[in-house]
């Protein structure tokens, strides 16, 4: 009798815990966050995920989405192959409802493909490769700008900032386009060349180098011989730093230097020093100095970041990730589900103007790409990055300095 009672209480306990687990599962939306959290790319993988975490904190404090709390489960993917394995594990073992990522396009490519096999939504916030959208994958949606936006913004900077500063007509401006030689750099360089030439700008040279190169003297001497007014570089931190050092050593001084994607972090400041960098422009994700009118909620984001992580953000990528995650929550709310097809249908109807989110993004999707997400341009001024383009993104009182670099 005693034994029977014990069995009965154990069974009751089991049933209760099962029931509570089911209730808990019903009250939670699980998101698999795919990024590199180990290896050489972990720094920015973690930084991007901090944007997700802060967005999750924000929405959970307001009661969650569809009345459910959001739970983020990190999936480490340091390369494309690992992207597949991690998505498989999160889909089968952790049973996540959807995925989001990534700041490396190659990882996003395979991870989203694998997510499609499990019929799960893949919400992309930071990878920029254009082919991610061109594939037409039904579960894939991107909130951040693509590589084409890098080209558009850098060309717009030449037209709207550099031309007036150096007092030349576009047809008299000479540009040297330099890039690292993988598909990332060369695709952007090709678009820059086409757009600049369409505006009548003279492209006096297009150079490519390995991101792992140990010497750029030949490149710089060639560029110097072509005497451009503007140098545009698309690459990574080590080759970008080496290009600047070599330009300095060889006395190569184009009136304006525009760096695309990198060149805005303390890594470049430490290598070159504030004096040399003064006036150099960098096209990238919106910085933290943008005014509230351009990025509503950016101040609150920065305060939340400082409070949670006890320091300054390492890079602006996390605020773009944060904005993208807020758009995701609105899309799920509108769709009433995390089902990829329903969310696709919901985002197709979204129509929020630019400057609706902290990084200045709006939400208007064409072929699953948010066409109201933008890069901005910032300028090195006194060892700090100050946003200078577009005008609406400039902090109050900011000016453009030393654009014709001395």
């Amino acid at each position: 009798m005693k034994l029977n009672r014990r069995i009965a209480s154990v069974a009751l306990l089991g049933a209760l815990s099962l029931a509570s687990a089911t209730v808990f599962a019903q009250q939670t939306i699980k998101i698999g966050a795919i990024n590199p959290y180990s290896g050489p790319m972990a720094l920015y993988g973690t930084e991007v995920t901090r944007g997700y975490e802060l967005a999750v904190d924000f929405i959970n404090a307001k009661g969650g989405v569809l009345g459910k709390k959001i739970e983020l489960i990190k999936g480490d993917a340091t390369n494309a192959q690992q992207g597949i394995a991690t998505v498989e594990q999160l889909a089968t073992k952790d049973k996540v409802d959807l995925f989001m990522g990534t700041y490396i396009s190659g990882i996003s490519l395979t991870a989203s493909d694998t997510a499609a096999r499990y019929n799960k939504l893949y919400w992309e916030t930071n990878a920029v490769a254009q082919n991610l959208i061109e594939r037409g994958l039904p579960n894939f949606i991107r909130t951040g700008p693509d590589g084409g936006a890098f080209a558009n913004t850098s060309v717009a900077v030449v037209k709207d900032l550099v031309a007036p500063a150096i007092k030349k007509d576009l047809k008299d401006i000479k540009v040297w386009i330099e890039s690292e030689d993988s598909i990332y750099g060369s695709a952007i360089a090709t678009m820059q060349k086409a757009q600049l030439e369409a505006m009548g700008v003279k492209v006096v040279g297009v150079g490519a180098h390995s991101a792992r190169t140990i010497d750029l003297n030949d490149t710089v001497l060639r560029a110097k011989q072509a005497a451009p007014d503007v140098l545009i570089q698309t690459g990574y931190v080590p080759d970008g730093n080496l290009l600047l050092k070599t330009s300095r050593d060889q006395g190569f001084k184009p009136a304006a230097m525009i760096f695309v994607g990198t060149g805005d972090t303390p890594e470049t400041l430490e290598a070159l020093g504030a004096d040399y960098l003064e006036g150099i422009l960098v096209v990238g994700y919106p910085k933290y100095d943008i005014p509230e009118a351009y990025g509503p909620g950016s101040r609150a984001y920065l305060a939340a970041y400082r409070a949670k992580y006890k320091g300054e953000p390492l890079a602006p990528q996390s605020m773009a990730a944060y904005s993208g995650t807020l758009i995701l929550f609105e899309a799920i709310q509108a769709a009433g589900s995390t089902d990829a097809d329903k969310v696709q249908a919901a985002v197709a109807k979204m129509d929020k103007p630019a400057s609706s989110y902290p990084s200045g993004f709006g939400a208007k999707f064409e072929k699953s790409q948010n066409v109201r997400s933008y890069f901005t341009a910032a300028q090195w001024q006194g060892g700090k990055m100050v946003t200078v383009y577009p005008k609406t993104a400039m902090p109050p009182g900011a000016t453009i300095k030393n654009l014709t670099r001395k």
Partner: protein, 296 residues
């Protein structure tokens, strides 16, 4: 004309960098007959050592060479004694072991640096001599001068000292050297130590030029192996001359043909030299086979 001179100077200074990272590898590859994949990581340790000395202790990066190079040398001795030597009967395993070291060293620095690129800041590395229209970067010139002095010093060390003569004897014929009473294992330890210290020294001298990342050694190592084979295994002057040839060819090909093709051009020269003279430009004829003859 000025432009040709400028490109030549750029090429020679680049050759100095190639020579610098190759000279230690040449000793290890040429004498101990180990394909040390972790050689680039020893250069990387030299760079981080110099960076820490500068940033944490305020020691001039060039002065830190007197601490950093011996430490990397000691690390090399430890690698030879505790990793390479126990695997002496398994030459393939020795190569895999150095690959394991490469991964381990890179990941240790990754954990410390978190993947951020570090640089020695300040005015270090900004000095340039203007000689007519030719610009000479002082930090690159220091590397060039250093590799020249090291080559001369090593030449005399190998020719004049007992330890150097032992190294040469082991390079030529390990078995005969042992029969003559030379302690081959100790010679290997010394050689690996010197080769590693030279890698550390190279790292220190390159610190003002490059951004330091855990993978930075890999940027040099492929070219360094090619320089060693081109110049001749175990030949000190081979690494020097090989480095200069690669540097100058790369600079001219990069400037006058296309920067994208510069490596293709010098690897073509590398292949031609190998076909015509398998022992390399300055290597002892037949030396390239010794390693395969003596796997005992």
């Amino acid at each position: 004309m000025d432009q040709i001179l400028n490109v030549l100077v750029v090429g020679l200074l680049l050759g100095g960098i190639y020579g610098l990272v190759s000279i230690g590898l040449n000793l290890i590859f040429g004498v101990v007959r180990i394909v040390n994949f972790a050689q680039g990581e020893l250069v990387m340790f030299g760079m981080y050592g110099s960076y820490f000395a500068y940033n944490q202790m305020g020691i001039n990066p060039y002065l830190s060479v007197f601490i950093v190079a011996p430490l990397v040398g000691l690390l090399g001795v430890a690698i030879q004694r505790f990793v390479i030597q126990p695997l002496h009967a398994e030459s393939n395993m020795q190569i895999f072991a150095t690959f394991g070291l490469l991964m381990m060293f890179q990941n240790i620095m990754l954990a410390i640096s978190k993947g951020e690129a570090w640089s020695v800041g300040g005015t270090m590395g900004t000095l340039v001599w203007d000689i007519g229209d030719v610009k000479v970067s002082v930090v690159r010139f220091i590397s060039f001068a250093a590799v020249t002095l090291i080559t001369i010093g090593l030449h005399f060390f190998l020719k004049q000292t007992i330890a150097g003569k032992a190294i040469r004897a082991v390079t030529q014929d390990k078995r005969a050297a042992r029969a003559m009473g030379i302690n081959v294992e100790r010679t290997y330890l010394i050689t690996f130590g010197i080769g590693s210290a030279l890698a550390g020294l190279a790292g220190v001298l390159l610190t003002p030029i490059y951004a330091i990342t855990p993978g930075v050694g890999g940027n040099f190592i492929l070219a360094a192996f090619a320089v060693v084979v081109l110049g001749g295994l175990g030949s000190v002057w081979g690494a020097y001359i090989g480095g200069m040839i690669v540097g100058v060819v790369e600079a001219f090909a990069g400037f006058y043909i296309d920067p994208v093709l510069r490596s293709a051009v010098w690897f073509l020269i590398f292949l031609i030299v190998l076909i015509v003279r398998p022992s390399g430009l300055m290597g002892q004829v037949g030396a390239e086979e010794v390693g395969f003859r003596e796997q005992n």
